[in-house]
């Protein structure tokens, strides 16, 4: 039972990441491969604030969101100069730069040693110490993010995003400043990723830079490509599938290091097959 709860918590955290990236990639058509950076900023903000100053978890997450948003604003401004594959390439670059900062700003992040002893969330003297309580917290966050995202994409703001994805020039002719829309959704997505980061740090109680590498961004991207771009249910299904997959491989009797590599083989093959035969994923509404 503990094990199933553990898997569900991970699914919840990656679900948040997938939904937030879907806003950027799926709904707006910006192929960003830097989501692990914002995930990491959220995690480090919570880790550092909770262990060194003893800030409450919820306040720390809030500060993490703000910090992640500011950073996304900066990155988003630079990236707004690029299009399509150059956009993807520049986002690769930012992920590696942020990872470098986690690894090398040792005074703040303790570098490769990581930050141990991050506490579980506490509110009104209630500590989310058992995993079941933590799962409830994660699910509440997931639902909240899901509905915010649902609200965003169905609002007039969301319609402009989809229009940008389909044909940016045309919507500019109608007088929309697309730069602001693209920046806004990038910042919102980054803020949501920071929530996932905070939950992750507090759940695992230990963070180090290796959780926020470029491959992690690619993994999150694979989740939404598998589930379907511009479809939040698809994003959740993708997260469930790709999180459970390596665990299932372990059950078949594979050693865990080979299972980790097998997971990569399988999601790589999935990416290739999807691109060849179904570029919009399982439930996708948008084709790259």
């Amino acid at each position: 039972m503990e094990y199933i709860i553990h898997i569900l918590i991970l699914v919840g955290i990656y679900g948040i990441l997938a939904i937030s990236l879907n806003l950027i990639v799926g709904y707006t058509g910006l192929l960003s491969v830097t989501h692990a950076a914002f995930f990491g900023i959220g995690a480090y903000a919570v880790g550092i604030l909770m262990t060194s100053i003893g800030v409450n978890f919820f306040l720390a997450v809030l500060l993490g969101i703000i910090f992640s948003c500011l950073f996304a604003l900066l990155i988003g401004l630079v990236m707004s100069k690029f299009k399509d594959d150059y956009y993807a390439l520049a986002s690769f670059g930012f992920n590696i730069i942020v990872f470098s900062i986690f690894l090398n700003w040792q005074k703040l992040t303790r570098g490769p040693l990581g930050i141990p002893g991050i506490k579980r969330p506490e509110i009104f003297n209630f500590i989310f110490s058992s995993n079941l309580h933590f799962l409830i917290l994660v699910l509440v966050a997931l639902l909240l993010i899901y509905f915010i995202s649902h609200f965003i994409v169905n609002s007039s703001f969301g319609r402009v995003l989809k229009a940008i994805r389909e044909d940016e020039n045309t919507i500019q002719v109608f007088g929309y400043r697309t730069l602001y829309y693209k920046l806004a959704i990038f910042v919102i997505g980054a803020g949501m990723a920071a929530v996932a980061g905070g939950l992750f740090a507090s759940y695992i109680t230990f963070i180090d830079p290796s959780s926020f590498v470029l491959m992690e961004s690619i993994f999150i991207l694979s989740i939404i490509i598998l589930g379907g771009l511009a479809n939040n249910k698809g994003a959740l299904i993708g997260a469930i599938f790709l999180i459970i997959l390596p665990e299932a491989l372990r059950f078949v009797g594979m050693p865990s290091d080979i299972a980790a590599q097998m997971r990569q083989v399988i999601y790589g093959v999935i990416l290739i097959l999807l691109m060849l035969y179904r570029p919009k994923g399982l439930l996708g509404e948008y084709k790259l």
């Binding site: 399509d84 594959d85 390439l89 670059g93 730069i97 470029l214 590599q261 990569q264 290739i272 691109m275």
Partner: protein, 288 residues
């Protein structure tokens, strides 16, 4: 003792390696116009074939290297046949091709890690000691001299082939306009196949040289690939001499950067340069 000569030698060697990587990458990009991430893993494959044949099975050293290069070339060609050709025949967007090539990269890298473990290995025999030469107070190993000479020879050969032969002219024609090339009777499918074969073999050469110089691990492909991409963009995409300028420029910036700042920031420096170039001079130093 002065450290400058050593830094210059290191820069030149790094530059030579980046030039070779960029040479192959540039060839692919200027012909088919998409970022082929899978190119990175071909370097890893080349060096692991040498590792398997030479160190595990005791084959002749030069024969192993030949096999390594040929294997990289053939695998690159097969990937084109199986994945990229059908996608391009369907006029898939650059982003679809980018993600498919990412899938190729992930799958092959994971397979290598399963077959050979994720550990760091050396390609050279432990019993043999490399000859070391001294130039102007800096030291250079025999392998590094080979690296430098190889890069010069490869650039000359590729430049000659592109300029003087019918094949080269056809490759250039396809790069300029694929549809018109087809109309005038160029078998684009076959010629692009050759391009992948040649470029992938060059990737094999680069991987083997890096392996001989520093050692190999399954994850080496991504960082080498990104260096090659950055060198290509800095030098000027679609310009064969751009690869040289970009490669050496990157080699010097990186090594002098390490000297001034510190080694850990190497990757961040490279990507900061990429982003600066993308913003201010996206066409690179040399225009096509």
């Amino acid at each position: 003792m002065d450290i400058i000569p050593q830094i210059i030698i290191n820069s030149v060697i790094a530059g030579a390696i980046y030039t070779i990587i960029a040479l192959g990458f540039n060839l692919i990009y200027s012909t088919v116009k998409f970022f082929d991430i899978g190119y990175g893993v071909l370097m890893t494959i080349g060096s692991y074939v040498v590792f398997l044949l030479f160190k595990k099975l005791g084959f002749d050293f030069y024969l192993s290297i030949l096999f390594g290069i040929v294997t990289s070339g053939l695998i690159g060609y097969l990937i084109y046949k199986i994945v990229y050709y059908p996608l391009r025949a369907r006029k898939a967007s650059n982003m679809v091709l980018l993600i498919a090539s990412l899938g190729v990269f992930i799958v092959l890298q994971a397979i290598i890690a399963i077959l050979f473990t994720s550990q760091f290995q050396t390609l050279t025999l432990s019993s043999s000691v490399q000859k070391i030469y001294e130039i102007f107070g800096g030291f250079i190993t025999q392998t590094q001299i080979v690296i430098f000479i190889t890069s010069v020879v490869l650039v000359l050969v590729v430049a000659l082939v592109l300029k003087k032969t019918m094949l080269g002219k056809m490759i250039k024609a396809i790069g300029d306009n694929e549809d018109v090339s087809k109309i005038v009777g160029i078998d684009t499918r076959k010629i692009i196949g050759y391009v992948f074969l040649i470029a992938s073999s060059i990737a094999g050469v680069a991987g083997i040289l890096v392996g001989l110089d520093t050692g190999i691990e399954p994850t080496m492909g991504m960082s080498l690939l990104l260096k090659g991409v950055v060198a290509t963009i800095i030098g000027g995409i679609g310009n064969i001499y751009g690869a040289i300028i970009g490669g050496f420029f990157l080699g010097f910036i990186e090594n002098f950067g390490i000297w001034q700042i510190s080694g850990e920031w190497k990757e961040a420096i490279v990507f900061a340069i990429l982003i600066i170039f993308l913003i201010f001079r996206p066409q690179g130093i040399l225009k096509k």
